[in-house]
């Protein structure tokens, strides 16, 4: 059990700064995911919390205590590496009990703890095997088990599922959530896969180029992305973006779409004037077929069973993804008209910031 706080944490490699001042407070027993594309600094941030990477500036606090001068082993954290990083010359049991051995725990206590964890993870028959005799999923379990045996204050997981196949990933996601519930421990989970973050985390920290873009619960991120980056990163398929111009500002913003059609979006913003450029974001499920503002030609269809995604090309060459029923009769090459749900539109200014809108009672947008 631990709280973890970051205060204006920066990381420089030589003159090159990769983490630009991050503030974050992680509550005890929280499951937090760091998500972002490669190079966003999420792994570096995790390694700084672990103590494997020096903090160039700022402060890392674990349970309220400054941790900068505490070596990794003394921080009471356990880490699961993407490559698992098991000790190849030791058996599974030896791998799992290595930390206890270093701490000088007697053999009986070590065996008991290893056995208890092996039982939870359902891998008792594997204890005498060497890592090279295990499958990917089994290696993953051993790596998790090795972290659990230490009963750490917090788990740091660095893309732990990315080397598994899709079916195993889905299964392990559920298992991790179950473990988090049972162990009642803080977990920090680093991933580039927004699906993993969305399905497991209590809160998600979206990182881009060494900066925090937004910290919020999965649904909040999906429904009210703070920036253009978050809007584009969270959600699959991606949110559609259209370049628009302000036609009229006031109690709502009326914008002009690429084909000249006007759309009134309920975002009151007095700072806008006619002619300002904005980016309009709309998720595929908020675009419907039928006479509306836009028209396009269907380029491709993705049949997923319960629903179909239509990939259309608009008049100006831009693309648009539309979600529709699974049994749609539309075919490639068809010309169709769309209607955009104005209430579900997000508007982003030139700096990529979302224009705020008043909370709508009962609205999930």
């Amino acid at each position: 059990m631990a709280t973890i706080e970051l205060k204006n944490v920066r990381k420089r490699f030589g003159a090159h700064e990769v983490i630009h001042g991050i503030d974050l407070a992680i509550a005890d027993r929280e499951f937090v995911a760091f998500v972002g594309p490669s190079g966003s600094g999420k792994s570096t941030l995790l390694r700084m919390i672990a103590g494997l990477e020096e903090v160039s500036e700022g402060e890392v606090r674990i349970d309220g205590q400054p941790a900068q001068n505490v070596p990794p082993a003394k921080r009471g954290l356990a880490m699961v590496f993407q490559s698992y990083a098991l000790y190849p010359h030791m058996t599974v049991a030896e791998n799992m009990s290595f930390s206890l051995r270093l701490a000088g725990a007697p053999k009986r206590e070590r065996d008991e703890k290893v056995r208890a964890v092996a039982r939870i993870l359902d891998m008792e028959p594997l204890l005498d095997r060497k890592p090279r005799a295990l499958s990917g999923g089994q290696l993953q379990r051993v790596a998790l088990g090795r972290a659990m045996v230490r009963q750490p204050k917090a788990f740091l997981l660095d893309e732990p599922l990315s080397n598994l196949d899709a079916a195993l990933q889905a299964q392990m996601r559920l298992e991790l959530v179950r473990l988090h519930r049972e162990l009642k421990t803080t977990m920090i989970y680093v991933t580039h896969d927004q699906v993993e973050a969305m399905t497991m985390a209590d809160r998600i920290v979206v990182l881009s180029e060494g900066r925090v873009e937004q910290v919020a619960s999965p649904l909040e991120l999906y429904q009210t992305p703070a920036t253009l980056f978050v809007a584009g990163f969270i959600g699959a398929p991606k949110m559609n973006f259209l370049e628009v111009r302000v036609k009229e500002a006031g109690s709502q913003l009326t914008v002009t779409l690429c084909n000249g059609a006007a759309l009134a979006v309920p975002v009151p913003d007095a700072s806008m004037t006619a002619g300002d450029r904005l980016t309009l974001g709309i998720r595929p499920e908020h675009v419907s077929l039928g006479a509306g503002e836009l028209e396009g030609e269907i380029q491709a269809l993705e049949h997923l069973g319960p629903r179909t995604y239509l990939h259309a090309r608009l008049g100006d060459g831009g693309g648009m993804v539309v979600q529709t029923a699974g049994d749609t009769a539309i075919r490639e090459g068809d010309r169709v008209a769309f209607r955009i749900c104005a209430e579900a539109c997000h508007l982003f200014d030139g700096a990529g910031q979302r224009l705020r809108r008043p909370a709508l009672a009962g609205s999930q947008l």
Binding site: L52, M79, F81, A85, Y87, P88, H89, F98, S99, L102
Partner: protein, 273 residues
């Protein structure tokens, strides 16, 4: 199909030819050691002769072979252990905590091997004399270990680089101190590489002649000095020299033969992992 077969045959022939050319002097030396002195210098060379052990008897009568051999063993093992003790931490630091200068330091270390040893003979001799190290095993161990050190560091550095750093980080998270990380994780993982390095170092030290000839006389002289003493003023005695040489290389030849598998495994450690 036909050409592939022919080229395979040609390659095999070239391989065998190279092996024979390398091996021939050793074979000839071995044969000569069983000839009489007269047969040894006969022209054309005598291929068929009556073998005699006379040369071995004479060589062993003149010098205490066991003493020289023991010196060789002590010096090459001692120098190798000392070099490993210095090189393991050095290579560990360079492989896992590199700085901008690491590559330069490695190159500089190797460059010291390019300096001919005779260039530092006088200062080394004077130093060894001052510190009473002349004609001592310790003195020879010190100079031999220093001379193999660059190669040992280089080899260990490249073996250590094969070990994924995450494994060491995992041990750090598990609570290992730097010493424990080295002892329980890095060394067991690089055993084949360390063994190959040690074997090479032992062979280099065993065959080292320059320092042995210049810094020792009687007490600490190794088998290379023993061999050289038969190429001496009274004139050349080919058969006895051959017998002495055969005796000098026999231990390391046998050692190399026995450890062959380990050596090959170590040298191809990274390639086939």
């Amino acid at each position: 199909m036909r050409t592939a077969r022919w080229s395979r045959l040609a390659l095999a022939a070239v391989g065998w030819a190279a092996a024979l050319i390398i091996f021939f002097p050793i074979l000839w030396m071995f044969l000569t050691s069983f000839k009489t002195e007269i047969a040894a210098v006969a022209t054309p060379p005598a291929v068929v002769f009556r073998p005699t052990l006379e040369n071995y008897a004479a060589v062993l009568r003149r010098a205490d072979y066991v003493q020289f051999a023991l010196n060789s063993v002590v010096v090459s093992l001692g120098a190798t252990l000392l070099a490993l003790a210095l090189a393991i931490p050095a290579a560990y630091a360079m492989a896992f905590f590199p700085t901008r200068r690491t590559k330069d330091i490695l190159l500089w270390m190797l460059s010291t091997r390019m300096l001919p040893a005779v260039g530092v003979l006088v200062p080394i001799y004077l130093l060894w004399r001052t510190f009473g190290l002349l004609d001592t095993r310790i003195g020879l161990v010190l100079i031999d270990s220093v001379s193999v050190l660059p190669i040992v560091v280089w080899m260990l550095f490249s073996y250590f680089r094969e070990v994924p750093p995450q494994i060491l980080e995992a041990s750090r998270m598990d609570g290992a101190s730097q010493r424990e990380e080295l002892l329980f994780v890095l060394l067991p993982l690089s055993t084949p590489g360390i063994a190959a390095t040690a074997l090479l170092s032992i062979i280099l030290c065993w065959n080292e002649a320059f320092w042995s000839l210049n810094l020792t006389t009687v007490k600490a002289a190794t088998l290379t000095a023993f061999t050289a003493s038969f190429a001496d003023p009274e004139g050349l005695f080919w058969a006895k020299l051959s017998a002495a040489s055969t005796l000098a290389i026999a231990p390391v030849l046998i050692f190399g033969w026995v450890s062959q598998r380990q050596l090959v495994r170590g040298l191809s450690f990274g390639a086939v992992k």
